[in-house]
């Protein structure tokens, strides 16, 4: 009896271990060039072993295939994405606290890809130690994208956090500063106006009930 159980375990265990990997291959097969699949699969396996989120890697490969990128380019982009996720996790772990979630890692990686230099990102993570830093990093990147100086942008977002604004509300701080620019203020004047008003920054408009009713969930498999 015991021999039968061991025999069954020997057969089933490798199948179970491969099932996750099998599903990654299944998702890539037919869309991603065959020569790229093996390498992408090994990158995904390595990311799994490091407990990094793997879905962004699968998506990067699918994106490359959809954009008709060459197999080498796909592999390169997936490798670069893995490295960005790794850096994002390192940055988050430096802040201490609970192990970062896949969403946090992905969000921070996206903020870094927007061009935030690591020392600047590190400054934000340190300043907001008790807070998932993704929204703050994106708020700073939003300000930078509109020509605000890096340090001044970080100062404003840290000040907003100290004034009690948290999470996605930090994005509203950047939006308020951009609105001041659009009204004709200079960059320093826009920052000063928003800073004086903290923590009062306008909320973004909520989706109307009609929009909510119209909204549909995408179903890629259907």
């Amino acid at each position: 009896m015991r021999r039968v159980a061991l025999f069954l375990l020997a057969i089933v265990a490798p199948l179970g271990a491969q099932s996750g990997r099998g599903s990654v291959r299944a998702r890539l097969t037919g869309r991603v060039p065959e020569v790229a699949i093996a390498v992408v699969d090994s990158v995904v396996r390595a990311a799994e072993a490091e407990r990094l989120p793997t879905e962004p890697l699968v998506q990067k490969a699918l994106e490359g295939a959809a954009k008709h990128a060459a197999p080498g380019r796909i592999v390169q982009a997936v490798g670069a994405q893995a490295e960005q996720l790794r850096q994002a996790r390192t940055l988050l772990e430096r802040g201490g606290g609970n192990p970062p979630t896949a969403i946090e890692i992905t969000s921070v990686a996206a903020a870094m890809v927007r061009g935030l230099p690591p020392p600047l990102a590190g400054r934000i993570v340190t300043a907001l130690a008790d807070e998932p830093p993704g929204p703050a990093l994106h708020a700073v990147a939003d300000l930078e994208g509109h020509g605000f100086a890096e340090d001044a942008a970080v100062d404003l977002i840290v000040a907003a956090a100290r004034a009690g604004l948290r999470g996605l509300r930090l994005l509203d701080v950047a939006t308020a500063a951009v609105h001041e620019l659009q009204r004709g203020a200079t960059h320093p004047a826009a920052l000063a106006t928003v800073r004086r008003a903290l923590p009062d920054v306008p909320w973004p408009p909520k989706p109307s009930p009609a929009e909510v009713n119209r909204a549909r969930r995408p179903r890629p498999g259907v």
Binding site: E63, A77, A80, T106, A110, H138, P207, A215, P218, P220
Partner: protein, 202 residues
């Protein structure tokens, strides 16, 4: 079959007092009277008249009890329908079961939000938004231009968080959303638009 003593008949008919009978015949009369009593008690209600009378005197059951009784009892239900209507009904049922449900309004989860995609593509025959939420497939989230003014839009439910996306015009032209405000390098020499979806509860 033994014949009964005529004196027993007389006692049973009430013509002769039982005390006038010898003891052995009196015992027979007693047994016969006991048997008659049993018959009166057990068999009389089983007669047709007895059942009708019992039913007439039974109290009317309550409305709820009658409904419950109707629901739990067996009934023969006959529906007369023209074959053309039965075919139409079958087609409607098949459509409900087989056609994917794109029509019902969504119930938003706490970690979901609404994303609105808008683009100006005059003359386009089709516009899709693609991203990880569509596995980068076209045809999953098509934009619509109902009034043919060149402004295409779609409203979708997405998980809260960051989402990269692009528009695909006429199934082949990849266009970055000029109104997105946030962009990231796509790793293939171009840029994706970046959307940050807020949960409905903020």
């Amino acid at each position: 079959m033994s014949k009964l003593d005529p004196r027993i008949h007389e006692v049973l008919d009430g013509d002769l007092p039982p005390e006038r009978l010898p003891p052995e015949l009196r015992a027979v009369v007693l047994r016969l009277e006991r048997a008659a009593g049993l018959l009166r008690a057990g068999l009389a209600p089983a007669s047709v008249a007895g059942r009708v009378l019992a039913a007439l005197h039974r109290p009317e059951p309550s409305r709820g009890r009658r409904v419950l009784q109707w629901l739990t009892e067996r009934h023969v239900i006959t529906i007369a329908m023209r074959p053309v209507w039965s075919l139409a009904l079958a087609a409607v049922l098949a459509a409900v079961v087989l056609v994917p449900d794109h029509g019902s309004a969504p119930l938003l989860g706490a970690q979901e939000g609404i994303a609105r995609f808008v683009g100006h593509f005059p003359g386009a025959r089709s516009v899709d938004v693609v991203g990880p939420f569509t596995d980068w497939h076209t045809g999953v989230v098509p934009l619509r231009d109902d009034d043919n003014d060149g402004v295409w839009s779609a409203v979708v439910v997405l998980p809260a968080g960051t989402h990269e996306y692009m528009f695909v015009v006429d199934g082949e032209r990849w266009v970055v959303d000029p109104l997105a405000g946030r962009y990231v390098s796509d790793g293939f020499g171009r840029q994706n638009a970046l959307l940050i979806v807020r949960p409905v509860g903020r």
